[in-house]
Amino acid sequence: MRARLLAATLTLVTSVAVLVAQSPQRATGASRGAVPRAADGKPDLTGVWQGASNRRGSWEEANSGLGVGGTGKDPAAPANPASQQVITAPAPYQPWAAAKVLESFNKRGIDDPAAFCLPPGLPRLHLVGLFPIEIVQTPRKVVLLYEYMNVFRTIQIGGSHSPDLVPAYLGDSVGRWEGDTLVVDVTGFNDKTWLTGTGTFHSEDLHLTERFTRVDKDQINYDATMEDPKVLTGPWTIHTTMMLREGTRVQEYACAENNQDPDHYERLLKEGIGFKRP
């Protein structure tokens, strides 16, 4: 029994070692600029960033591959920063909830709340590389402006959550500095968003802890731990990076303008078209 446990442990640890070795380096590139500091000495997160990327440089330089949002000018460049970059464990869903996630996956995400132009939730907004995110930092508040769906949130620094929160798509954020890391406690969520990829639903009991660490001029390490006792079996942590995109501006994105996809989805379902993968 002991031998079997040991063998199982070794297999698991070896697999993990291989997977970790294959996962992308968080820091890439040669020149590392110093972390800019605010007047109060804290790292200044202010700037326009691209989530789910680990490439340095301007938006154009960092998005030259063949992946989503890439120009294809350099076909040898990483194909899709988003798909390669996000490091996550298989999500620890309770069995009944895992079945629901799979159901959505098997329908190719046709039930994505974002397809209806509703605000994408957290941490998903940080895992989308196609649209930039602007951070504006002051000593009392850090404001995040997301181009995707044109949603925003304010992180109050210090204090506690209001006792009368109404369930919200992006919840209520309260931050504190732990050394050079901004730690954000987010609660007060509704249950209408996905956490990360296709079908990753949650309940109103979702509790999110985010850690923003600007490790040099170009890079913020973003770590998010999700807890939801109604849906998950335990904490679920993901890690990704946000890269500085000097010269990029956050623009308007009025999603409801010409959204034809829900109508297409409705017709697909009505006509019983299958979504079998190749």
Partner: protein, 143 residues
């Protein structure tokens, strides 16, 4: 908690899997990677709209019959960042070639990928096939 259990928990918490997370919502549900399509024709209309843009192309079949194709693509912001200039790069009347994938619903609807412009330049008007459909691996283990 003994060392082995702690190690196992740590291992479980750090198993690394690359999960495709793409924007916007599912093109992969609407369009079929197994039905690639390439058409050449004349641009009749461009909708630079959110959440997605559309380009309409009149395609002649050589027998006097013309079909108007509709191609879905990136939102204007993404087009801007991939090198498009609205009302400059492509205008109604331009002769272009579009590659993409046909809609599962059939008809003359497709998801665009690359457009070859009158001067021979090529720009991506849409993302690769399968975007937003969850990729090949679900977020949970398949029982």
């Amino acid at each position: 908690m003994n060392r082995t259990v702690r190690l196992l928990l740590l291992a479980a918490a750090t198993v690394a899997v690359a999960t495709p997370l793409r924007a916007h919502h599912s093109f992969g549900a609407e369009y079929d990677v197994n039905q690639p399509v390439t058409v050449s024709g004349v641009v009749t209309k461009i909708e630079w709209t959110n959440p997605h843009s559309f380009v309409f192309v009149d395609v002649a079949d050589g027998n006097g019959s013309v079909t108007n194709w509709k191609f879905e693509g990136y939102p204007p912001n993404a087009l801007y960042r991939t090198g498009w200039k609205r009302d400059v790069s492509m205008k109604p009347g331009d002769k272009i070639t579009v590659t993409g994938w046909r809609a599962r619903l059939g008809g003359n609807l497709a998801h665009s990928r690359e457009i070859t412009l009158p001067d021979g330049n090529k720009l991506f008007f849409g993302p690769p096939a399968g975007t937003g459909d969850g990729g090949n691996t679900p977020a949970v283990k398949v029982p």
